[in-house]
């Protein structure tokens, strides 16, 4: 019985006091519509398609994002322009399925698809949750300012021949090395 009284005093009463002392701790709540929460730059929110520093689309329609997507919310079709650049004919994200996991961003080899801190994406009509390429494309470079895929990749396009990319040596003619 004495231990019960001792336990009550040391455990229950201390608990009551500790909980009571939270009365003068500031609440953690952010009153959202009146007050915007601080969104971290790497927050995984609304998906965008970025452009390279020259203003061209970064997306090369490799389909890796669509493959990585666990809920299959990305659909696209590859096409090619007269210079040999690849780009998506259409690029469609169904945001009613998207779970903002960021796998597409990790899979993207050209930093084209990126997630942004915006989360206010509610719509009245379900069809409005489907975003096409013109909705997704932004004018800037997103999180990576200097990267341009065609300037570092060895692919030949109009105006840039083999061996003209950054850090790329001129191709060696292997036949000339023959003894």
């Amino acid at each position: 019985m004495l231990t019960l009284i001792k336990d009550t005093l040391t455990s229950q009463v201390v608990t009551l006091w500790r909980v009571f002392s939270h009365l003068w701790v500031k609440a953690d709540t952010v009153e959202y519509p009146d007050e915007q929460p601080y969104m971290f730059p790497r927050w995984r929110g609304r998906i965008i398609l970025s452009r390279d520093p020259d203003g061209e689309e970064r997306c090369v329609a490799c389909n890796l994002c669509a493959v990585a997507c666990p809920v299959d919310c990305i659909a696209l079709q590859k096409t090619e322009d007269e210079e040999g650049r690849w780009y998506p004919e259409f690029f469609r994200i169904n945001f009613s399925r998207c779970i903002m996991c960021g796998f597409c961003e990790e899979a993207c080899p050209t930093n084209a698809i990126q997630l942004t801190p915006d989360f206010e994406m509610a719509e009245y009509k379900r069809q409005d949750m489907v975003w096409e390429k013109e909705d997704l494309l932004i004018d800037g470079t997103g999180k990576y300012h200097d990267y341009n895929f065609y300037r570092v990749a060895g692919k030949k396009i109009g105006g840039k021949d083999k061996g003209e990319a950054q850090n790329e040596a001129v191709p060696v003619n292997v036949r000339s090395l023959l003894p």
Binding site: L4, Q12, F20, A27, D28
Partner: protein
């Protein structure tokens, strides 16, 4: 019409105030709980969220008043009415201030205990008539808990009754004017009454009859709409009643320094205990059912009997 005990004005004012306070407690509880959990709580409807109660009332009154087809209709409807009635009846013997009260009964303490016992019927009927296993389990637990804890509740008050020599609650308060608050000589009685009061009004941590995590909502699982609302408000009325009783029996009722009116002192003391009950809910986890029973019968019963015995010895040796 004047403000005297038993006048129509007094009765109407008490009834309105008590029900209004019980309804406002929904907001008070949510707000206080959230402060203790570092949240804000309901603060959108009206100033400080005060009109949350109105919104809740509109919701609960416009809900479908549904009686399950498998329930026993008569007792299903009767049960929530009983708890409201008996707890409001208990308020009739509480002396709120000089001249404010419904009746100065010479059996006031016994009347409150009798009404508390009748309250157990509401819970049992509600659980049994629902024809639902969770409701039945809840009613079973409620019956065992309320009958057990009534014993200690009664015995813990007996020390106060012996000291003041009366069952009349108003005379108990007046006796404290001469002898000082009974919380000092009857501290153990106060603690036991507090614990038994929590169990009687089945508030957390002793909300075993309606433990959500274990048995859905317990005895009111099948209730909805205003019938559920009556159980809900009945529970808050019980909270106000227990707080008022602690104030009257142990903390000198309306007594206090004269710069404020007596009714204010009563309200302040009662609100302190209401806040304490809400703090209990925020802080203490629920015991197991068998722990509750053994705690009552093996600890509270001997202690309360010992307290009564020692009180009796002291009264006899000093008189």
């Amino acid at each position: 019409m004047t403000f005297e005990v038993g006048s129509g004005l007094s009765i109407g004012a008490i009834l309105a105030t008590v029900i209004l306070v019980a309804a406002m407690l929904i907001w008070v509880e949510r707000r206080l709980l959230s402060f203790w959990q570092e949240r804000l709580g309901p603060n959108r409807v009206g100033p400080f969220g005060l009109l949350q109660v109105v919104a809740d009332m509109i919701k609960i009154f416009t809900k479908e008043d549904w009686v399950p087809p498998f329930a026993d209709k008569f007792s299903f409807v009767l049960a929530p009415a009983i708890i409201m009635t008996v707890i409001l009846m208990s308020f009739s013997v509480i002396p709120f201030a000089p001249g404010v009260g419904v009746v100065d009964s010479n059996i006031g303490v016994l009347f409150v205990l009798a009404m508390a016992s009748l309250g157990a019927y509401s819970v049992m009927l509600g659980g049994l008539s629902s024809d639902n296993k969770y409701a039945l389990l809840g009613a079973l637990r409620a019956a065992a808990q309320m009958i057990s804890y009534e014993v200690f509740m009664g015995i813990s008050i007996l020390g106060v009754v012996a000291l003041s020599g009366t069952f009349n609650l108003r005379e108990i308060v007046l006796a404290q004017e001469a002898n000082g608050w009974y919380v000092i000589p009857q501290f153990i009685g106060f603690v036991i009454f507090l614990i038994a009061g929590v169990a009687e009004s089945h508030r957390l941590p002793f909300d075993i009859p309606e433990a959500e995590q274990e048995i859905c909502a317990g005895y009111h699982t099948e209730y909805s709409g205003m019938k559920f609302g009556m159980f809900f408000v009945g529970e808050y009325l019980g909270l106000v009643l227990i707080s008022s009783l602690i104030t009257v029996l142990f903390f000198g009722g309306w007594l206090g320094p004269a710069f404020l009116p007596p009714i204010f002192w009563f309200a302040l003391k009662a609100f302190m205990f209401i806040a304490f009950f809400i703090l209990l809910r925020a802080a203490i986890p629920r015991p197991r059912y068998d722990q509750l029973m053994s705690y009552g019968w093996l600890f509270l019963l001997p202690v309360s009997l010992l307290n009564l015995l020692i009180t009796g010895v002291i009264i006899l040796s000093t008189s």
